[in-house]
Amino acid sequence: MRPRPMRRSVAALACLLLAWTGPGSGAARAQERPALIAAAADLKFALAEIAGAFSRNTGKAVRITYGSSGDLARQIAQGAPFEMLLSADERYVADLHRAGLTRGEGKLYATGRLAMFAPHGSPLPLDAELRGFQSAVAEGRVTRFAIANPQHAPYGKAAREVLERLGVWQRLQPALVLGENASQAMQFAASGSCQGGIVPLSLASAPDIAALGTFARIPAAWHSPLRQRMVLTARAGPAAEAFYDYVQHNAGAGQTLARFGYALPEGK
């Protein structure tokens, strides 16, 4: 019976673990529960700043999950416990509204812009009209280029429209690297293993990322507008309601969005 003490210590360890981790989450939930927010990945830096200011001002906390709008909307439709969705494409909000999963039709909070990003050392020339990019693709000099997945990421869909407009979509196919969402596309584009990518302006212009390369704004007329709409879901609690209000009406929140390159809805 030599191994007995070992058995006892393992059992004790397991009990300790359950005691430490088990009821804790329940206790945390009993206090004022932070609102669970689902947000499009292009908002990663801007919304983190807004949420920080919101918590300081109101004492209420939010927890934000970033992803592609399509993915997040699907999860909400399948019953994920999010209380609010900030989508990058208003159609996902409309779909959820039709399915009866939201409170009202939501509100337009920003219009997004795209940027062409090239990391330091990339041979991609960045001019306002992207002619240098066009010829680089035509000459086969672009071997790796990142965009978000056009299937379920609005910024990927807009990037595809830009590439089609430039007439390089077909030619670029073998070089395309698809990010799961806009922020992963940004990560790929800035990683140095891609020559560049078409990414949200809000990410490319964030200080942490702007330091990794250069970017050029893509004219808003080159793709269908990225009308970003937010909505409370049917299960929204008071903290989520307050945050919804804050993003919509707080002047600081509007300034933050504008600083990250978003166009604000009229009247703000």
Binding site: S25, T65, A80
Partner: protein, 224 residues
């Protein structure tokens, strides 16, 4: 470091162990001693998570737990929350993808016990349960411990299934593995690096311990 995520991962691993280990012992004992036609199909089914792409398992679990399945509807009626994207759903998924890690080491250890020992115990009037608890488990203990260690480490590390079934919700389903993915996407190389190092050290330590146990198995070798 996201302590929330670390705590959640430990909690998930703890619950998985607490439920799966007893069930694994019973299953392993049955597989090690029973002889019946089609046994390899049962063993194959239990080993399936080893070779199945996590996305396949994740997809079926998502379908099975969704609001349109009877399991999903029953859970929602009972608790008011959906099974998918909840911690309970994650535990359920974790039980499934850990089955081979829990069962196989125990099964091998019980198989290594000389059948004469078991027969002697039965001849002495012990019931099958008594034999399991008082003879087989003490002998097969290193196998049980290595099953526990593997299950624990594997739960901390599982990514695909957790992402599909759990949906990366902070404090509810965002485990360390998902937090690393999230931090890396947010250009937070510092946090991603620290949590990766933590998982690397824990995984290495657990695997080394489990190999150490495998080499030091008292009294379970066949003597014939």
């Amino acid at each position: 470091m996201e302590w929330d995520a670390i705590r959640l991962s430990l909690s998930l691993a703890g619950w998985t162990l607490a439920i799966l280990l007893p069930a694994g012992i019973v299953l392993a004992r049955w597989l090690a001693t029973a002889r019946f036609a089609g046994r390899h199909w049962v063993e194959g089914l239990l080993a399936l998570p080893l070779v199945l792409p996590p996305t396949v398992l994740g997809y079926y679990l998502l379908v099975a737990m969704g609001g349109t399945s009877s399991l999903g509807r029953w859970f929602q009626a009972a608790t008011g929350t959906t099974l998918a994207f909840s911690f309970t759903g994650l535990v359920l998924a974790s039980l499934l993808f850990n089955l081979p890690f829990a069962v196989q080491p125990i099964q091998r250890a019980i198989e290594a016990i000389d059948p004469d020992v078991r027969e002697a115990a039965l001849c002495c009037g012990m019931t099958s349960w008594q034999t399991l608890v008082r003879i087989e488990l003490p002998l097969a203990w290193p196998g049980v411990l290595s099953a526990a260690v593997l299950t624990f480490a594997h739960t901390l590390g599982e990514f695909g299934v957790v992402l599909m079934v759990g949906g990366n919700i902070p404090g509810e389903t965002r485990t360390v593995a998902l937090a690393i993915y999230d931090r890396a996407q947010s250009f937070d190389a510092g946090a991603a690096g620290r949590m990766s190092l933590l998982l690397l050290v824990v995984s290495f330590a657990t695997i080394a311990v489990s190999y150490g146990l495998g080499n030091r198995v008292p009294g379970t070798r066949r003597r014939r």
